[in-house]
Symmetry: C2
Subunit: 247 residues, 2 copies
DNA sequence: CGGCTGATTGATCCCGGTCAAATGAGGTGG
DNA sequence: CCACCTCATTTGACCGGGATCAATCAGCCG
């Protein structure tokens, strides 16, 4: 499931992700790889990497594993507001606001690199392409967040779930986590329900509808999209907000 | 309604807004004021300031008037994903992604300052406090976007509308647009419906419920919050995500 | 084998959508 | 000044998507 890659390749998803957003300079790649190598950390499933209100004093980039950003209401209702996938950055520049307004939890065991604020600032001061790549990461995150607002506000359950699956598929592809049209999908139906604003029961029925329409296969933590075009069109999916196809 | 302030004070909302997020240096304020004075523009009601897909080559800060960010689905469903209020910045650093993934429309006549990319980059290169203030603006925008996801995904209609009103109230206060507990509120019920993911009909009924519960008055484009505490508690509102109360 | 978590199914209910029409408030031109 | 148009708000009647409640079932682990 999660074979341990050789040390040198661990930074790959991050480099690929940032390179998709902004072409990195060679020196930038080198210093990034060093920072990642020096900051490696592990954390298990179902733990908070950061909790709402915590002070942010470092930047974390995800090398492997899945996480989610979420907030809970006083009465327990939970909304997942985004997923965080390998190669993505949790909180670039978030220290500028001192504290975090939401929590980040792991959905799987996670390997990440923690870069202390001072070290991160030195990194981005030294290489403009790295600084801009991280800013693009932040800006794209905003764009994704906006798209989620549409998803939650204006799409029906079927469209909503289809849209989420399309988005995750697209986000996993540039970091090489799609094989054929399948990918590891370590998300419970409860998580999917909290991400789409649906109840678990209705989410389950919606998945069955997607399955019986021949659009997806989903079992044993593996998602296969059997008809991507059809899935995209039932989702009213348009990938431009992910900014994955730049010159 | 919109008295023309003397020239010198027009930049005030922007300065106050940015100062709330990050203490600006005196020199920063001066150069910011000059850039604003030189880039003044006007635009009427109901127009797109920028449309989805447009190339972004400047930064716009809003001096007066209201706007909204929105996206539409192919079949016409529209979701407003955020409002933009006086003092706020439309698209700081957005040129890093080249194009915009959503549209921004005016809800009133708007006075804004357009700062060309090169000029903006010079501005933020010269003064770190200005650069960071604009980054904070961007990060807070993300935080607001996340809170909207919760609003749309997990709050009931009554809570949802109450929450939006609380948020707008809090955002208008630091720029001095709340008098007593009232403010200009130039938003149609259709706009509110599109912002809360409700139908116009149900939004109307929800407003009536808030009115008859004695929480708000809303007529002739003026909103008065008659019981702010009650409104906040029916909304399950907690303002930390707005980052308005920093040391 | 019992206990736990996650997936699934069935039955029922209700929040909020849809449809349709009426009312009201400007705005405009004759 | 009034007829007329348009756009926003409001109301009523009905419907349906998705929530809720309650079991059942399937793995997995100790």
């Amino acid at each position: 499931m999660h074979p341990a890659p050789v040390e040198g390749s661990l930074a790959q998803p991050v480099i690929r992700r940032l390179n998709t957003l902004r072409r990195l300079s060679d020196e930038g790649v080198v210093s990034l790889e060093r920072a990642i190598r020096e900051g490696m950390q592990h954390i298990g499933t179902g733990e908070d990497l950061i909790s709402e209100g915590d002070t942010v004093s470092s930047v974390r980039v995800i090398l492997s594993g899945w996480l989610c950003r979420y907030k809970t209401l006083e009465d327990g209702r939970r909304q997942i507001v985004n997923f965080i996938l390998p190669g993505e950055t949790c909180d670039a520049y978030a220290y500028l606001l001192s504290t975090l307004d939401h929590s980040i939890a792991t959905l799987t065991p996670v390997v990440y690199a923690e870069v202390k604020r001072a070290q991160f600032e030195a990194l981005v001061a030294r290489d403009r392409s790295v600084a801009e790549a991280f800013w693009c990461e932040t800006l794209v995150n905003s764009a994704i967040q906006r798209e989620w607002a549409i998803n939650l506000g204006r799409r029906l359950a079927l469209e909503r779930v289809a849209h989420l699956l399309c988005e995750l598929h697209e986000r996993l592809r540039p970091v090489g986590l799609i094989e054929g049209n399948s990918c590891a999908f370590p998300v419970t139906q409860m998580d999917l329900a909290d991400a789409t604003g649906l109840s678990v029961v209705h989410l389950n029925r919606t998945l069955q509808e997607l399955r019986s329409a021949g659009l997806i296969l989903l079992r044993e933590r593996t998602l296969t999209i059997t008809d991507l075009d059809a899935l995209k069109s039932t989702a009213l999916f348009s990938p431009n907000y992910l900014y994955l196809y730049r010159a």
